[in-house]
């Protein structure tokens, strides 16, 4: 169960609209390495985790990703409000405008709609956690690409830097979750069984 807090995790106040940059940053909302992908990936994968620590990391990072998708869509909204028709047409946002006006809709920078095939939920904790580590790096690299474009615009660059830093923290926590899973596996063969399917629950989740 979730409760909503009517605030952003990091404040965003963009005063100058910019249709071109909105189109780029939109990718971190509904693109292949975006925040919708991230949140749905972790919140879906939670169920297969074989210990409380790994499940807690997926649950709590997945929850934070919901706050991040709100931040990214706030950036897109603030960059597209008060745009003139001329700016929309000149910037290349015209095709998006025809379908969505300036409503926020999840798509990649290249216009591909959000699709659940952008993430996997394999039901195998090692596979899922390695995907999560890669996902955090892909998102970090996308934020680096965005930062090369917006580095001289502090009102956009500041929240993007915050989001980039969180990817690095999440990568670290997923590494620790992975280790917690590996420690309950056969150290001579991590792949001897799938702890999300073959083995009943281990002691690590018993109530103390």
């Amino acid at each position: 169960m979730w409760n909503y807090e009517k605030r952003l995790q990091y404040p965003i106040n963009i005063k100058t609209p910019n249709a071109k940059i909105a189109q780029y940053i939109m990718s971190q909302y509904g693109g292949p390495d975006g925040e919708i992908s991230a949140s749905l990936r972790y919140l879906s994968q939670r169920f297969a985790m074989p210990n409380r620590m790994a499940a807690a990391v997926l649950n709590d990072v997945g929850t934070e990703e919901l706050a991040h998708l709100e931040m990214v869509s706030t950036i897109v909204h603030q960059l597209t409000r008060d745009l003139s028709m001329e700016e929309i047409e000149k910037s290349g946002l015209g095709a998006y405008y025809i379908d969505h006006t300036v409503g926020v809709w999840p798509q990649a920078a290249g216009g591909i709609p959000f699709n659940a095939c952008e993430f996997q939920s394999k039901g195998d904790p090692l596979t899922d956690l390695f995907e999560d580590l890669a996902a955090e790096q892909k998102a970090r690299a996308t934020y680096d690409n965005i930062l090369r474009v917006v580095r001289n615009i502090p009102e956009i660059a500041d929240p993007i830097r915050f989001l980039r830093a969180r990817e690095v923290v999440h990568f670290q926590r997923f590494g620790e979750a992975l280790r917690s899973v590996q420690e309950q596996l056969d150290s001579k063969n991590f792949y001897a069984f799938n702890p999300g399917f073959d083995m009943p629950c281990e002691a690590s989740c018993k109530n103390s």
């Binding site: 409380r52 807690a56 649950n59 018993k206 109530n207």
Partner: protein
């Protein structure tokens, strides 16, 4: 044992929390479209207070259900992570 014994069981307490929380959820939606309704406000106040107290009691007896109650446990270590997920089978972790 770091948790207090309670007058009611975990399941009973959770059931009470579910009931008052649903009242809060429903009143929230109602008040969004009827912000001046006095009766709605009074009911919200009643259920929100009950919920707050029950959540606190649950955290003290069985561990936190929400991060805001993470320190209501009187334990020295982080109890949030150990809490069972609501889909788990009793005694297991899935």
């Amino acid at each position: 044992m770091m948790y207090h014994n309670s007058s009611c069981s975990r399941t009973q307490l959770l059931q009470q929390i579910n009931e008052v929380s649903f009242a809060v959820d429903d009143l929230l939606l109602y008040l969004d479209t009827h912000p001046c309704c006095e009766k709605g406000m009074a009911l919200y106040k009643e259920y929100a207070e009950k919920r707050k107290n029950l959540m606190k009691k649950y955290a003290e007896c069985y561990g936190p259900l929400t991060i805001d109650d993470a320190l209501e446990t009187n334990a020295d270590t982080w109890k949030w992570m150990e809490q069972p997920f609501p889909w788990e089978r009793e005694g297991g972790c899935r």
